[in-house]
Amino acid sequence: MTESGQDDRVPDDRAASALSDAVKSAILDRLLDDLRADRALAPPRSVYTKSDSGLYGKYEKAEGINEDVLRLIRAVLEDLAGGIEPELPPDRRADP
């Protein structure tokens, strides 16, 4: 943070942080579901909220589109898709 209280991280860092928070929350959701299914230790989803579960910390679902997060996701997926080997044509598949 700067002295003026503004976030001085670059947009990519903020996007990665926002994405990481969302993913961690989703994983915690799954862990809670597993606990419920296996041991019924936690109350059903309908009677607790993320903010009072005590496991999530401060998690607020973003309102609207976070364009930095979308741009980051798109860039990483483009990178992964760019690494896909083109398929050989069928007539070469039996070649040794």
């Binding site: 799954r30 979308l70 996701i73 898709a81 896909i84």
Partner: protein, 235 residues
């Protein structure tokens, strides 16, 4: 635990992330992300042909054992390489009808035999042994100790010079956290199996414990992808 959850099943959806309704105007990036997730998921469909090319590159294996064959996509791809390939596809009794149907549909029944067996209890040894034993999409069903014993049993039926090929999702540890966060965020781990994931190093160690010499360790599809880990019995 967090690492395992990140790399199996689940994930957010684009709607979770964006609040975007598909019926309304869609942000350009969302459209492109949606397309890219389909490209990455579709890349898995080419994995059996890629594995077959790798596993037949040095020599065509005449005798193949497919353990936990399912619908036998991996051994079917290898059988397509040559009519000299003969496969024994093994699975549990309740899977056998679907397996037999898949083999017939591929028009390679003459190259295949099927057998109902539990690989943990059945004796699969033959006098000559197998040139290739495939354990594909099986190991994630079992924890480490059980997987290790499965691989030792699989190695035991190899002929001298034969290859044991494990095909499965491997645990990426340490992972590229940003990459996995993105894959998880768009729900791509939903195309992956749940269960137990093991690292390449674990597979290599278990194969060495089974007396095999390390071979390939390569990805077969784009992340979140399947990998091929193989090892050879010395001639």
């Amino acid at each position: 635990m967090m690492l395992h959850h990140l790399q199996t099943r689940g994930g957010l959806t684009l709607r979770d992330l964006t609040g975007c309704s598909w019926s309304g105007p869609v942000h350009e990036d969302v459209t492109e992300i949606h397309r890219l997730t389909r490209v990455l998921a579709a890349d898995r469909r080419g994995a059996p042909a890629r594995a077959a090319r790798r596993l037949t590159a040095d020599r065509v294996p005449g005798r193949v054992l497919d353990i936990g064959a399912g619908l036998a996509p991996w051994s079917l791809a290898i059988a397509a390489a040559s009519r000299d390939v003969h496969v024994l596809a093994v699975d549990l009794p309740e899977q056998l009808a679907a397996l037999t149907e898949a083999v017939a549909a591929a028009d390679v029944s003459a190259q295949f035999k099927t057998m109902a067996a539990d690989v943990f209890t059945s004796d699969l040894r033959t006098a000559a042994g197998y040139d290739l034993v495939i354990v594909a999409n099986v190991c994630h069903l079992f924890p480490a100790s059980r997987t290790r014993s499965l691989l030792i049993r699989a190695a035991d039926v190899l002929a001298p010079g034969g290859v044991l090929a494990v095909i499965d999702q491997v645990l990426d540890d340490p992972p590229d956290w940003l990459q996995w966060a993105v894959l998880y965020a768009v729900g791509l781990p939903q195309v992956m199996p749940g269960g137990y994931l093991h690292t390449v190093d674990e597979y290599v160690t278990w194969m060495a414990d089974a007396g095999l010499v390390a071979g390939l360790a390569i990805p077969l599809s784009a992340p979140p992808g399947l990998s091929l880990v193989s090892a050879r019995r010395e001639s």
